[in-house]
């Protein structure tokens, strides 16, 4: 069994920025990621980010990833790739299935002083007749295929869901050379930013609000999709069926936090639909109800890359404070700045639901004596 000072589980934007923040102040950090390369969702985000220009707005996700990986290297973060955290036991013991360069696999148990869970979220399914046909996939999966693996999942796409993921991935599918036949949205209005919708409308992609999918048809793979209008009780309106000739159906119907490790360690969770489902509670330092376990990024509530980066910094800063690498005064100053930026990112009509949900988490956590 190893002993490590700080173990970060998950090398996406939140995990990487937590690792960098802690390492640059002197902590010894081990970052574990199940993929062949760290960076999480960032390597799929080929578009320019929104947010504050003082903090990487206008920079493409892929470039932010490269920069973070470089910072991790410079500050001496130890990284185990192709390695999965398969268990989290009391008290702060992580079990990792580690794969070495020569493909040798070994189960390592690590006793950590502090743990950051940055495991992100997974895509929701939308079930309809024919949903198991090849060609039906998550929008995130399609995005990985086109932006990371440079492979088209299909040529004629139906996108289900008009939140930012649905709109952005539709745009990226067009860029990759696919035709997006339509975007459908069950709600009566488009979910994502107007500018994202405008981009794909300019490219001739129709967006059908108050529509759902009834069925995917095909012999061995998707050949057609049957969509229809829904009423104000979300029920299909008969007679409004339309058949679309598509070979791929991508589903962008939200994400849910990957909370298994947090739950294994008895971190208290709350069901918060606004943030994706079961969300582990955390305090303003991003510490869970289990002392020494921190939660950052989508696992702490599905939001976006910018908030993930900031939450990671917050946890990294809090950890170095409790490990006495920085003074309480310095930590308070840094944390205050980060909270200001987080609040800024959660402002406006698109963020206020998350802002409220996040402050409810802090309240609930306080009430359960975090």
């Amino acid at each position: 069994m190893y002993e490590k000072e700080v173990v970060v589980i998950g090398g996406g934007p939140s995990g990487l920025s937590a690792a960098v923040e802690a390492a640059k102040r002197g902590a010894k950090v081990l970052l574990v990621d199940e993929n062949l390369r760290a960076g999480g969702q960032l390597f799929k985000q080929i578009h320019k980010f929104f947010g504050s220009s003082a903090h990487k707005a206008g920079v493409r996700g892929i470039d932010i990833a490269v920069d973070l990986l470089e910072q991790a290297r410079v500050h001496g973060v130890e990284i185990w790739l192709n390695s999965v955290a398969v268990g989290l036991f009391k008290d702060k013991k992580v079990a990792i299935k580690r794969t070495f360069e020569d493909k040798l696999e070994k189960l390592e148990i690590i006793q950590a002083k502090k743990i950051v869970i940055a495991t992100g979220a997974s895509e929701n399914a939308v079930r309809f007749r024919g949903w198991t046909l090849p060609g039906v996939m998550g929008a995130g999966a399609a995005q990985t295929m086109i932006n990371v693996n440079r492979v088209l999942p299909g040529e004629r796409i139906l996108m289900i869901g008009s939140g930012n993921v649905g709109l952005i991935v539709s745009y990226q599918l067009l860029q990759a050379g696919a035709e997006v036949i339509a975007v459908i949205e069950a709600a009566p209005q488009i979910g994502g930013y107007g500018v994202h919708a405008a981009k794909i409308r300019r490219a001739g992609v129709p967006i059908y609000t108050s529509h759902t999918i009834l069925e995917a048809k095909g012999e061995k793979y998707v050949e057609e999709a049957v969509i229809c209008e829904v009423d104000n009780k979300w029920q299909p309106i008969s007679g409004t069926e339309k058949v679309l000739k598509v070979d791929t159906i991508t589903i962008a119907a939200g994400l849910k936090p990957l909370t298994e490790l947090a739950m294994m360690h008895d971190c208290q969770c709350s069901f918060i639909p606004q943030l994706g489902g079961w969300v582990p509670l955390h305090d303003k330092n991003m510490e869970s109800t289990s002392p020494g376990i921190y939660l950052v990024g989508d696992v702490a509530g599905v939001e976006e890359a910018n908030t993930a980066l900031e939450e990671g910094r917050l946890a990294g800063t809090s950890i170095t404070e409790t490990l006495n690498y920085i003074s309480t005064e310095e930590a308070e100053r840094l944390k205050k700045e980060i909270w200001q930026r987080l609040n800024e990112l959660r402002m406006g009509p698109f963020g206020e639901g998350r802002m409220l949900a996040k402050s409810n988490i802090l309240e609930e956590c306080k009430a359960s004596n975090c």
Partner: protein, 170 residues
């Protein structure tokens, strides 16, 4: 608002959003048109403008406001907007034609001098157009800016071109 249901702003909504330049200003030379009127935390456009013609301020969810008199229509902001929502219109190009510059992140890029089909905010073809300029320098960070000449009376409608055929092997 049409944006929430249909995914594009109508001219009336744009005029109401303080970002549409006046006809007077448009008759004086190129000027930016910012088609972004939602409260999103985002401000690269404010920082991009050398002439400080775009203001967002605090909080950064404020929609951008263009000072049409400070704006020279230089187009620096076009590639900097993450939402690809900024265009530059020049109604003084010639008697019958005007220019529109827009961000274009597709391949293949059109060739200067070629004839293309211009499209409106719904992607419907509005007119033919001639490609006057294609910028793709490193400073644009992979957001090429294309300028086309179209009939002047279509300038408030045209916001792009129909994407060109790709030669990928499938």
């Amino acid at each position: 608002m049409a944006l929430r249901k249909k995914g594009f702003l109508t001219k009336e909504e744009l005029l109401a959003s303080k970002c549409y330049p006046s006809e007077k200003r448009m008759s004086e030379g190129p000027v930016a048109v910012i088609e972004c009127n939602e409260e999103i935390p985002c401000n690269p456009c404010e920082v991009a403008c050398k002439f400080q013609a775009i203001s967002i301020g605090n909080p950064i969810t404020n929609a951008p406001i263009l000072d049409e008199n400070l704006c020279t229509g230089c187009g620096l902001c076009i590639a900097r907007c993450p939402g690809l929502a900024i265009f530059v219109i020049d109604k003084t190009y010639s008697e019958k034609e005007g220019l529109i510059s827009f961000p274009y992140e597709y391949l293949p890029l059109p060739l200067t001098g070629s004839i293309v089909e211009s499209v409106n905010r719904e992607g419907k073809v509005v007119s033919s157009g001639k490609v006057i300029k294609v910028l793709n320098s490193k400073s644009l960070d992979r957001t090429p800016v294309v300028t086309i000449a179209v009939p002047k009376d279509k300038l408030d409608e045209v916001r792009g071109i129909k994407r060109l055929e790709r030669n990928d092997s499938k």
